[in-house]
Symmetry: C2
Subunit: 247 residues, 2 copies
Amino acid sequence: MAQRMKLVIAYDGAPFAGWQSQLHGNTIQDRLEEALRRITGERPRVQGAGRTDTGVHALGQCAHLDLDTARFTPQQLQMALNAVLPPAIRIMRCQSVAGTFHARFAATAKVYRYRLWNGPVLPPTEFGRAWHISQPLDFALMCVAASKFVGRHDFTSFTANRGKPSRDTVRTLQVVRPHRRGHCLTIEFVGDGFLYKMVRMMAGAIVATGQGKFGLLEIAERLRPGGRRRPNMVAPAAGLFLIRVRY
Amino acid sequence: MAQRMKLVIAYDGAPFAGWQSQLHGNTIQDRLEEALRRITGERPRVQGAGRTDTGVHALGQCAHLDLDTARFTPQQLQMALNAVLPPAIRIMRCQSVAGTFHARFAATAKVYRYRLWNGPVLPPTEFGRAWHISQPLDFALMCVAASKFVGRHDFTSFTANRGKPSRDTVRTLQVVRPHRRGHCLTIEFVGDGFLYKMVRMMAGAIVATGQGKFGLLEIAERLRPGGRRRPNMVAPAAGLFLIRVRY
């Protein structure tokens, strides 16, 4: 009897070429599918909730897969996968789900966190996990800038896929919230979906506002239909974490 | 005019063979001395507050060095070192100090933190930075065990240098305090000095108590002069952080 499993996956993005399967095989999806082949003898396809780019981390990426047989309990599959996978990829949870569950199409929201280190020296423990900005940032301005993204907008100006404006580029964000604690500055993003490089471009625009490079009207202008399309500042991948997928 | 500089150094211990200079050159001290040679043309010796073993991390190791000339302000030296050193070693602070200051002999206390991850799966972000214990730990017992170390004791049973008992193995600990937050469990150690592998052996004994492998009398027995000398559990290097050196 076929069995659908849902995985919650954490990974350090640094050693991998992103989520999505590629010919060279060094992606999170490839490593998962290879581990499943070794464990089950089957060749299940792993369907993720969404792709993450090279260097982007995850604390709670989600995926589903189908096994032909019910030989494994979820706990057995989790333990077997963690025994075979590199320590940079961990299965945090595994559960049996209905055959109608779909990791990508059933997702109702995603939570991302962008991390910045705003101090003179980047501690070694933050290397590869935060964007280092040594100059002072105007945190109050960053909060105002972040609030401009909340709501339903056409995010054409905040994606690297510059197609023609269409409903495909409309997304709704519930939360865009900067938080500061000492030198560590995070920006949390909650939305129904995110376009290619959209979080990193929003983080880049919020930081540019905090640095005085963008005026406060800049973001609203870019979100306006037909607004100016000037180059964006793209925040580096190393600071981005996929925190959770909601269903 | 000669100038003595004090450095506060943070490092990720994973890629290095500990603090202390060695022939192969892949230690923190070697990297610092090499960077100083490149920057100043001089060959100053870097004197650390103490050694750390292979894999042990630091947020606030201290060291001093003498430059023959006063060509560099402390800030210039810090920036130049951070430009030349690998990102896994960072100079957090640099200041000019009196020629009588000595990083090792002037130290009055050291603060270490041992980190444990007490949950079923070790997140990728904790790999190399915590000791993974998946079985439940009795936190209350660990707190009692930790308290036994506080005060002035002969730590012969808690060092890998098993010489004859002498005053050299007597140390005074001000604080040994476990702290729990979710799956992350830390033990803070503050003392006037620590013997070789002493913190890792104390952490091992506290964890062994929390696992029920050591009775509550075990630690007191080992600290008693002439007490039993059974093998210790040595906690792995990856969980240990030198937090601060006090002067």
